[in-house]
C-alpha cells in the first residue's frame, strides 16, 4: 500500500509550523494590544484613530503661492488667526461660527501647502476662513484648494455600510468554499481572513498611536480588498491540496499539505510581488492622497500571502483529522 512515493519537496512547511503559529499569534496579539491601547488612549478612545470621514467636520487644504521662503509661517500663527476669527464678524443670515479653538493645523511640503481640520462649517463659513487666512499666508492658489465637509451622520453610514457588506461577503465566500471544498477549508479561510484584517488594523492602530495616522473611508476600502485578496490567495493553495489528496491519497495530510505548499510557493511569492510592485510604486511616487491607502494594502497583501503559506495550510492537518 505504501508504494506511493513522496515527491521531492524542497521546503517542508510543516517543519516550521510551530514557529509560524507563534509568529502569527504574536503579531495578532501585538495588533490587539495596539487597538486596546488606542481605545484606552484619552485622545483617541476608539480601536483606530478615526479620520474626518468618520468623525465629521471640515477639512481645508490650501496651497500657497510663495516663491522662495515658505517656512516663515507656523501652525501657531494660523491657530491664533483662527481664534481671532471667532470673535470677529458674523454675517446676518449665517449660522453662528462654531468655536475654532480645537482647529488642527498641519504644514506640508515645507510650508508650501497646509491642512486645517475644523469643526463642521457651512461652505460660506469655510470660505470666510480661507479668505481670512490669506492675510497670514500671503497669496493662495485657488486652483489648489480643497474643502471637505462631512456631517457626523455620514461616518456612521459609511461604517455600517462597510461592516455589513464585509460580513455578508465573508458569509457568501464561506458558503462558496464549503460548496467547492469542505467546511474545514471554509473555516480556515475565514481564520486567515480575520488574521489578515486584524493585523492590518493593528498596524494602523500603532501608526495612529505613534504617528497620529488616521483611518478614512479609503482604509475601509483597503480592508475589504485585503479580505478579498486573502481569500483568493488561500483558495489557490487549497486547490492544490485538494489535488494532492487524489494523487497522493495514501500519504498523511501533513505530507499532502507540504507537497502542495511547496508546489505553490513560487507562485504565491511571485503573485504577491507583482501585486506589491504597483502598490510600492504608489507609495513612493504616488500622490499624498493615496499614500496611506497604498500602505494599508501593502501590509494587508504581505500578511495575506504569509497566512496563505504559513497559517491556513499548516492548520489544515490539525483540523482535518477524522
Amino acid at each position: 500500500m505504501s508504494t506511493v512515493e513522496m515527491p521531492p519537496v524542497r521546503f517542508r512547511i510543516s517543519r516550521y509550523r510551530t514557529v509560524a503559529w507563534w509568529g502569527s499569534a504574536l503579531a495578532c496579539l501585538l495588533s490587539l494590544v495596539g487597538m486596546v491601547l488606542c481605545w484606552l488612549s484619552p485622545t483617541i478612545g476608539l480601536p483606530l484613530k478615526p479620520g474626518l470621514d468618520f468623525t465629521g467636520g471640515t477639512q481645508i487644504q490650501l496651497e500657497r503661492l510663495c516663491t522662495a521662503d515658505c517656512s516663515s509661517v507656523t501652525a501657531n500663527q494660523i491657530q491664533e488667526r483662527l481664534r481671532q476669527l471667532n470673535s470677529a464678524t458674523v454675517e446676518p443670515q449665517s449660522a453662528p461660527l462654531p468655536s475654532l479653538e480645537t482647529a488642527q493645523v498641519q504644514l506640508l511640503d515645507g510650508g508650501r501647502s497646509l491642512l486645517i481640520r475644523l469643526p463642521e462649517l457651512t461652505p460660506e463659513q469655510a470660505n470666510r476662513v480661507t479668505s481670512t487666512l490669506g492675510s497670514v499666508l500671503g497669496p493662495l492658489n485657488p486652483a489648489g484648494t480643497a474643502v471637505n465637509t462631512i456631517g457626523p451622520t455620514l461616518g456612521d453610514q459609511l461604517l455600517r455600510g462597510s461592516l455589513v457588506s464585509l460580513l455578508v461577503s465573508f458569509a457568501a465566500i464561506a458558503a462558496y468554499i464549503t460548496f467547492r471544498y469542505d467546511r474545514v477549508y471554509a473555516a480556515l479561510a475565514l481564520v486567515c481572513l480575520a488574521h489578515d484584517v486584524l493585523i492590518t488594523c493593528g498596524v494602523f492602530a500603532w501608526l495612529g498611536l505613534l504617528r497620529g495616522v488616521e483611518v478614512d473611508s479609503l482604509f475601509a476600502v483597503s480592508l475589504i480588498t485585503v479580505a478579498g485578496y486573502s481569500v483568493t490567495d488561500t483558495v489557490v493553495v487549497f486547490d492544490r491540496i485538494r489535488e494532492q489528496q487524489t494523487t497522493l491519497a495514501a500519504l498523511p495530510v501533513v505530507d499532502q499539505v507540504d507537497v502542495a505548499v511547496d508546489a505553490t510557493l513560487t507562485r504565491s511569492l511571485y503573485t504577491s510581488l507583482t501585486t506589491l510592485l504597483p502598490l510600492l510604486a504608489l507609495i513612493f511616487f504616488g500622490g499624498s492622497t493615496l499614500f496611506w491607502f497604498a500602505v494599508a494594502l501593502t501590509v494587508g497583501i504581505a500578511v495575506g500571502s504569509w497566512s496563505s503559506i504559513g497559517v491556513a495550510p499548516t492548520l489544515l492537518p490539525v483540523f482535518a483529522r477524522r
Binding site: T89, S131, L154, D233, T271, L277, A281, F285, L290
Partner: protein, 506 residues
C-alpha cells in the same frame, strides 16, 4: 491553426473596437480628479412624515432640480443615493456657497396678518429692527451692500463709522429681550443676535394663515428706483390672488401689518392703507421690499420659482477640490501606476522569458479593454477607482503566473513543450476560477451594500476580475499557441533555464 486564427481575429477586432471606443468616448473623470464641488443632501422627515418615501424623495429632487437649473452651472448632476439622500455634483465649481444656500433652505414663503392688539409691541420691535439694520449696514461698510457678503473682509470693520446704538443701549435692549450674550462677542455679533431675536418676536405676533408660496405662479426681481437694493416680485394664482385680497382687506386701515415670512424669518413688514378697505389688494401681484442685494434677490427668486421643499433637507457633506489639485492627483497616480506596471512587465519577462513577453502583451490588451469598458458603461473614474484598477492589474498578473508555473512544472517533470502548455492551462483553470469567483462574490456584496466610495471601487475591481479571466484564458493562450507554430520559438529554453529540465537520459 484555423481556430487560432479565428481567436486572433476576434482579439484584434476587440482591441481595435476598444481603442476606437476610448477615442470617441473619453473617460469620465470624477470630481476628485477634475476639480469641482459635490454636495450630499439628507432629506429629513418632518411633521407627520416619519420616514422618507421614494415619491417624496422624487418630489424633493424635482424642486431641487428646478433650483439648480436656476443657478446655471454647466453639467451639474443630481442623483438620489439610497432611500433619503441626494448627491449634487457641480464640475468646475469652486465655491459651493451659493448652491448650498439655495439648496439648503426650505423656501416656505408665508403671508401673515398681524394679530389685533399687538400694535405697540410691534412698533417697538420694528424700531429696534430698523436701528440694528442701519448700524449693521454701516458696520459692514458701504461696499458690501452690493457684493457677496463673504468678500467683505475684516479690514472694513476697522474703518467703520460711529455706530448709532450706544453700547449700553444695545445691552439693555438685549437683556430686555432675554438674550444671553456670549462673553467676548463683538458689537456686530451682538447686533446679529438682536436682529435674529427681533425677527422671531415679530413672527410670533402674526396670525396663522393659509397663503403660502404654493399659491404663487411665478416670481421675478426688479431694482428699486431709488438706490441699489432689489425687490422680489410675486404673481399669485387665481386662488392665491383671492386669498391675498381677503388677507389685505382684513387689516386695511387698522394699523396692523402684513408680514412676509420666509422659513420662519420675517423678511418684510408692510402696512395696508385704508383705501383697500373695500376689496383688499387685488390683481394677483405683490412685491417684497426686503432691501435685497442683487444676488440675494436672484437666489430668492430661484427658490420661490422652484417652489418650497415638501420636506426639509440638510447638507451633510460638501467636498470641493481645486482643478490643479485634481490634475496633480491624476499625474502622480498615473505615473505611479505606469511605473508599477513597467516593473511588473520587466519582472515577468525576466522570470518567464517568452511566455512573460506574451503575458505583457495580453496584460496590455487587458488594460486597453478595461479602460474601454470604463468609457462604455460609463464608470466615473475616481481616485479609489484608479487604485482598484491598479490593484486588479496585479491580480490579472496572478492568473498568468499560475499558468506559467504549471507549465514549468510540467516541463520539469519531462513533458513535451506543447503538452506542458496545454496541461498547464487546464490544471491552472480551477484555481484561477475559484480565485476570481470569490473576488466577484465580495464585489457583489460591496456593490449591493457599500456606500459611494466603496461602490466605485467594487465596480472597477469587478470589471477587472471579469476581464482578467477573459484575457488570461483566451489572449495569453491564443498568442502562445500562435507563437508555438514557429519552430524557432518552440524550444523549452524559451520557457525556463536548461538546468531545470530533466536530463534526456532519465
Amino acid at each position: 491553426m484555423a481556430r487560432q486564427q479565428g481567436w486572433i481575429a476576434l482579439i484584434l477586432a476587440l482591441a481595435i473596437a476598444a481603442a476606437a471606443l476610448l477615442f470617441s468616448f473619453p473617460l469620465k473623470l470624477g470630481l476628485d480628479l477634475r476639480g469641482g464641488s459635490q454636495l450630499m443632501l439628507q432629506v429629513l422627515p418632518a411633521g407627520a412624515v416619519r420616514s422618507v418615501q421614494p415619491e417624496q424623495l422624487e418630489a424633493v429632487k424635482e424642486v431641487l432640480e428646478r433650483r439648480i437649473n436656476g443657478l446655471g452651472v454647466a453639467e451639474s448632476t443630481l442623483q438620489t443615493v439610497g432611500n433619503d439622500q441626494l448627491v449634487l455634483q457641480l464640475p468646475g465649481e469652486q465655491d459651493p456657497t451659493r448652491a448650498a444656500n439655495v439648496l439648503g433652505s426650505t423656501a416656505l414663503l408665508e403671508f401673515k396678518a398681524q394679530r389685533p392688539g399687538t400694535e405697540q409691541e410691534m412698533q417697538g420691535l420694528l424700531q429696534l429692527k430698523r436701528q440694528a439694520t442701519a448700524v449693521l449696514n454701516r458696520l459692514k461698510g458701504p461696499s458690501s451692500a452690493n457684493s457677496e457678503p463673504t468678500s467683505s473682509g475684516l479690514d472694513q470693520q476697522s474703518k467703520a463709522p460711529q455706530p448709532e446704538i450706544k453700547a449700553e443701549e444695545l445691552a439693555r435692549a438685549l437683556t430686555q429681550l432675554g438674550v444671553n450674550v456670549p462673553a467676548g462677542s463683538s458689537e456686530q455679533q451682538q447686533l446679529e443676535l438682536l436682529l435674529g431675536v427681533v425677527n422671531q418676536r415679530i413672527v410670533a405676533l402674526y396670525e396663522p394663515s393659509d397663503l403660502s408660496g404654493r399659491d404663487l405662479v411665478s416670481a421675478g426681481r426688479q431694482q428699486q428706483q431709488s438706490g441699489s437694493a432689489w425687490d422680489v416680485t410675486l404673481s399669485f394664482s387665481r386662488e392665491g390672488g383671492e386669498k391675498f385680497a381677503d388677507l389685505t382687506r382684513s387689516i386695511a386701515g387698522t394699523g396692523r401689518l402684513l408680514g412676509i415670512v420666509l422659513d420662519g424669518r420675517s423678511i418684510s413688514e408692510a402696512s395696508v392703507g385704508p383705501e383697500f378697505k373695500a376689496a383688499g389688494i387685488s390683481g394677483g401681484g405683490a412685491t417684497i421690499t426686503g432691501n435685497f442685494t442683487a444676488d440675494e434677490a436672484r437666489d430668492l427668486e430661484v427658490q420661490l420659482r422652484g417652489g418650497s421643499l415638501p420636506l426639509p433637507v440638510k447638507i451633510i457633506e460638501v467636498r470641493t477640490v481645486g482643478p490643479s489639485l485634481g490634475a496633480e492627483n491624476i499625474r502622480t497616480s498615473l505615473a505611479a501606476g505606469l511605473t508599477g506596471l513597467a516593473l511588473v512587465g520587466v519582472f515577468m519577462i525576466v522570470v518567464y522569458r517568452l511566455p512573460g513577453l506574451v503575458a505583457v502583451l495580453s496584460l496590455s490588451l487587458y488594460a486597453l479593454f478595461n479602460l474601454a469598458v470604463y468609457a462604455l458603461i460609463p464608470v466615473t473614474l475616481t481616485l479609489p477607482g484608479i487604485a482598484g484598477f491598479i490593484l486588479s492589474i496585479g491580480m490579472a498578473v496572478d492568473a498568468n503566473v499560475l499558468i506559467f508555473e504549471r507549465i514549468k512544472e510540467e516541463l520539469r517533470s519531462g513533458n513535451t513543450l506543447i503538452r506542458s502548455i496545454e496541461t498547464g492551462f487546464s490544471l491552472a483553470l480551477s484555481s484561477i476560477l475559484d480565485g476570481h469567483v470569490t473576488g466577484l462574490i465580495s464585489c457583489i456584496a460591496l456593490f449591493a451594500l457599500g456606500t459611494g466610495l466603496v461602490k466605485g471601487f467594487a465596480v472597477t475591481l469587478a470589471i477587472g476580475l471579469v476581464l482578467s479571466l477573459f484575457t488570461a484564458l483566451t489572449c495569453t493562450r491564443t498568442i502562445l499557441r500562435v507563437l508555438m507554430a514557429y519552430p524557432s520559438l518552440r524550444r523549452p529554453a524559451n520557457f525556463l533555464s536548461m538546468q531545470q529540465l530533466p536530463a534526456r537520459s532519465s
